[in-house]
Every structure is written in structure tokens, then in C-alpha cells.
Amino acid sequence: MSAVRTAHHGSRTRHTRGSRTWRTRRGVLAAVAVALLAAGCGSGPSLENRGEVTAPPGDSKHLVVGSAGFTESDLLAQMYALLLDEAGYGTEILSVANRELYEPALESGQIDVVPEYAATFADWLNAKANGADAEPVGSPDLATTMKALRGLAAPRGLTVLDAGRAVDQNAFAVAASYAREHRLRTLSDLGRSGLKVRLAAGDECVRRPYCEPGLKKVYGIDVTGVDPKGVGTTQAKKAVQSGQDQMVLTTTTDATLDEFGLVLLADDKHLQNADHIVPVVNRSRAGSKGVAAALARLNTVLTTKDLATLNREVDSWRRLPEAVAKRYLQDKGLL
């Protein structure tokens, strides 16, 4: 089914998807459909609804925790839900395919809490507010990134809670055999080797400074093209495993690389941004101290390594995210 193929199956749907082709082509036809159904059903929440932005911080007792549908997001959403349950809130989890879908829902209060990545989310909000060509605001420095992120989130009625220790940065992996053959340990090594590299990544990679442009400019890597297989997806990793592509964009908490015979190349020139994990909440529904305190308990506990281990249990051992999250919190004495 072609529809399913174009869906972003990324285990990391953290990046803007290119979905303009159908939007413009089918726009007119679909407008007819929308108009047909919209008659008399205008009460649904609007994407453009900013009515609650000025409302004071609220403390709803029933909270919807959003997950972006990939393993790590599922795990974090489960942990958030369990911690909120522990603090006396009622919770449910809604899993949505990508940020384009859940961010508007977060603004409108259909979703109240979402696990996010500081720099990636800051850049996403920046692109939404100032256009796709806006100067990126995410940086390798956490404080700078958080300041920019909070500045962008506040006008949308969103509160960004404090960042924890866990960081899920973008990272690049190559086949272990390829790395051995060409003696590669870092991205700088790859740049020096002068090898031609086809990169499996999200289609937004061609524009993002941390991706193709950064690899070319900072590391001097000869990127011949981007294969839009998504970020860290099975398809993307298989493409590198089979030699169809040479490098894949994935993340530091990916624990399935061994399975595909892949190794990470070190980001020795610090191209990647401060993608610390931060809970983002809808201020008018979950902007209270109670929610912040409940979620902050995770900040000093959860590390990048822990997160990779938990991802591994779900991705490689196929345990239930719910059970893995619960056991982890119990082990750490948080439940």
C-alpha cells in the first residue's frame, strides 16, 4: 500500500517530514471533502486555536500523555504516566505518528504532556514560527538551547520542564566491516578518507545543519545523496547492512546497532545539538507544580545509558514498554 510506504516509519520521528507533494496536489479535492464533512461539525479543536495561551497554569486531574510512537517515546511516555499516577493523577497514553500531529494537539489540550528533545523541538518550533529557512536556535549548549526553547514554547501555551541527564543525540553509524576496512572511528576519519557516502536518513536531512550540510562543511564528508528511509528505521539500517547505503542517521540511545552489524562514528567536532530529554506540558492543563515535581523525579535518575538499555529491552527483546518502564522505576525506587 503506497500510503503506508510514505508514512514516516522512523523509530525516531523527530524531524519535519516532507509532505508537501500531496498537500498541494490533492489540496483542492480534499478541500471539497473537508467542506462536506465540516458542515455542522465545526466544534472540533482547531490547529490554529491559540485561545488558551494566556490562561493561567492549570492542574487538570486527568492527563493525556502523548507518545510519538517510537520505542523511546513510548518508554518515556509510560514512565511519565506512571510517575503522574503515583502523584495522584489519572493518565492515559495516546500514541501519534509524528510531531506534526501531536504538537498541535498539545497546544489545544488534547494531549497534556509529551516527552521531547530540547534542541530538536526548539528548531521545530522555530521553523513553525519563523519559517523553514529560519536560523536554527538549537545548539550544542544546553542552557542556550533551553532558553531558546522556552522562548518559543511559551507563546504557544506550552511549558518546558527542566531537562534531565539523559541525552538522545543524533548519531551516525556505518557497517562494522566498512569501518574496519577503511579504519574509521570518528566522523573526521570518514571525512579524511574521501569516501563517497550515501546516507540513509530522513528526507529533511538535506536541509538540517546537523545532517548533510554539517557533515559536508564540518567534517568534509563526501555525501553523494540522502536515501529517505527515515531516521534509525529498520529499513535504513538494513540498507547500510546490505551496502546499498554507507551510513545511517540514528541516535545515541539506539541499542539495536549490533544486530545489524553497525558501529557509531564519534561526533568528535561536536556537530550535534543538546538533545536532552525534556517533558513539555500544556500550561493551562498541566502547568502546575504537582506535574513538574512528579516528572522531575526522573531527571536525576535516568541516564543516556539507562535509556539505551531500556530501548534494547523493548526493541531487541520485545518486552512491553509498559512493563519495562514500570520495572525500571521500581528498581530505582520511584514507585
Binding site: A3, V4, A7, S11, L37, G44, P45, S95, A97, S108
Partner: protein, 226 residues
């Protein structure tokens, strides 16, 4: 680092008993959600398609636009459909149902209309001659005779709704699609296979159920054959 547990889940086998036993509740919920989405959308689509088809049959001028519009709706890619309906319905099961209703319309309107058009003119005249008014003619003569074609449309619409409902996973309401979608992300063989098989089973059972209903409603079709 702890060693992986040695079971069919960790080995990522296609068929895995432990998957079924640990995920029973999740699978049941997914099937129920799938049935709910499909049944609701086909029922609503039928309620809309029937008057549209009757309208198109009565006024020849209406037939063109009605068929054109429903066919155009059918050509919208499902991902686009759900995304475009998002501002109207938000993240809800209503969104998925609305999308499925629009897709079912084409199949239902076309087939009901074909059934109505196939009613022989002599039959209609005979009924009129016996003093049947337009409403009674429609309800007791035309619709029953259109039933086989209409039921064929209903069966196709239902089966395609079962498969299209999976795309609802992008907004978290896709029934078995939720499992297929997350299983594909992590290359989880048992989950993808189990959910896909269940999806096919649901489609086949729904089709058989409707076939049974059709046979009950149209006993005369069998009488003619035998």
C-alpha cells in the same frame, strides 16, 4: 550487560506463543477497536449512500455530480485524508471513522445505484399499475430488487474499510493497525504477522457475515437458481 532472555520474543520469531500470551489483552482491545471503527464507518456510510443513490436514480441530473464527487473522494490518499480531516475532528476515533465513511461512499453509492437502475422498467410499470405510489414502489419493489448489487457493494466497502482502518494508526486509532505500525518500526515479526493475520480474519469473517445476511434477505435468488 545482562544477557537477552531466551524466548521466541527475543529471537524475533514470526510465530510466537509467548507473544500471544503476554499481549492477549492488547490484541483483544485492538480487534475490538478495529471492529468498532469498521462497523461504525460502514453503517454511517450506508446511511448517507442510500439517500444519495435514490436521489441520483430519481433525478438524472443529480447522478453525474453525486458519482463524480464520491469518486473524487475515493482518489484522495488515505494518509492525506486523515491529515486533512485532522483540523475538523482532532485526534479522535471520529477522525478515522469520517475518513472511512468518505471512502466507503463511492463503493456504496455506485453499487446501490447500479442495483436500482437494473430494476426492469416492466416491473416498475406493473407495480404502478397496481396502484403503488413512489415511496411504496421504492421500499417494496425497487430496493429489494437492488439488494444483491447493493450487498455486493456493502461487502466490498466493509472489506476495504477493514484494511484502510489500519492507516488510522497515524493518529493512534487504527485498531490492529496500531500494532502493525509499531511492529514495523521495530521489525517485530510476531507482532506484524499476528496483527496482519487477525486483520485478514476480521475481513473474511465480516464478508462471510454479510454474505449470510444477503442470503437471508434475498431468498428468491437461490430459488431461481435451483
Amino acid at each position: 550487560m545482562t544477557a537477552p532472555p531466551d524466548d521466541c520474543l527475543a529471537r524475533n520469531e514470526w510465530i510466537c506463543g509467548r507473544y500471544l500470551s503476554t499481549r492477549r489483552e492488547i490484541l483483544v482491545d485492538a480487534v475490538l477497536q478495529h471492529l468498532e471503527l469498521t462497523a461504525l464507518s460502514v453503517a454511517v456510510a450506508l446511511a448517507i449512500a442510500l439517500p444519495l443513490a435514490v436521489l441520483a436514480r430519481r433525478w438524472v441530473l443529480a447522478a453525474g455530480p453525486v458519482l463524480a464527487l464520491t469518486t473524487v473522494l475515493y482518489t484522495i490518499p488515505s494518509l492525506a485524508m486523515f491529515s486533512l480531516l485532522l483540523p475538523v475532528y482532532g485526534l479522535s476515533s471520529t477522525l478515522v471513522v469520517a475518513g472511512l465513511v468518505l471512502y466507503s461512499l463511492t463503493l456504496l453509492v455506485r453499487n446501490i445505484l447500479a442495483g436500482l437502475r437494473a430494476v426492469p422498467e416492466e416491473t416498475r410499470q406493473a407495480a404502478r399499475g397496481m396502484g403503488y405510489g413512489p415511496i411504496r414502489l421504492l421500499l417494496t419493489v425497487e430496493l429489494p430488487l437492488a439488494l444483491p448489487a447493493a450487498m455486493a457493494g456493502l461487502r466490498i466497502a466493509t472489506v476495504s474499510a477493514v484494511s484502510l482502518a489500519t492507516v488510522g494508526a497515524i493518529v493512534g486509532f487504527g485498531g490492529l493497525g496500531n500494532l502493525i505500525y509499531s511492529g514495523m518500526n521495530t521489525y517485530f515479526k510476531a507482532q506484524v504477522l499476528t496483527a496482519s493475520v487477525l486483520c485478514v480474519v476480521v475481513a473474511v469473517l465480516a464478508d462471510l457475515l454479510l454474505l449470510g445476511v444477503q442470503r437471508l434477505l434475498t431468498p428468491w435468488t437461490r430459488a431461481v437458481r435451483s
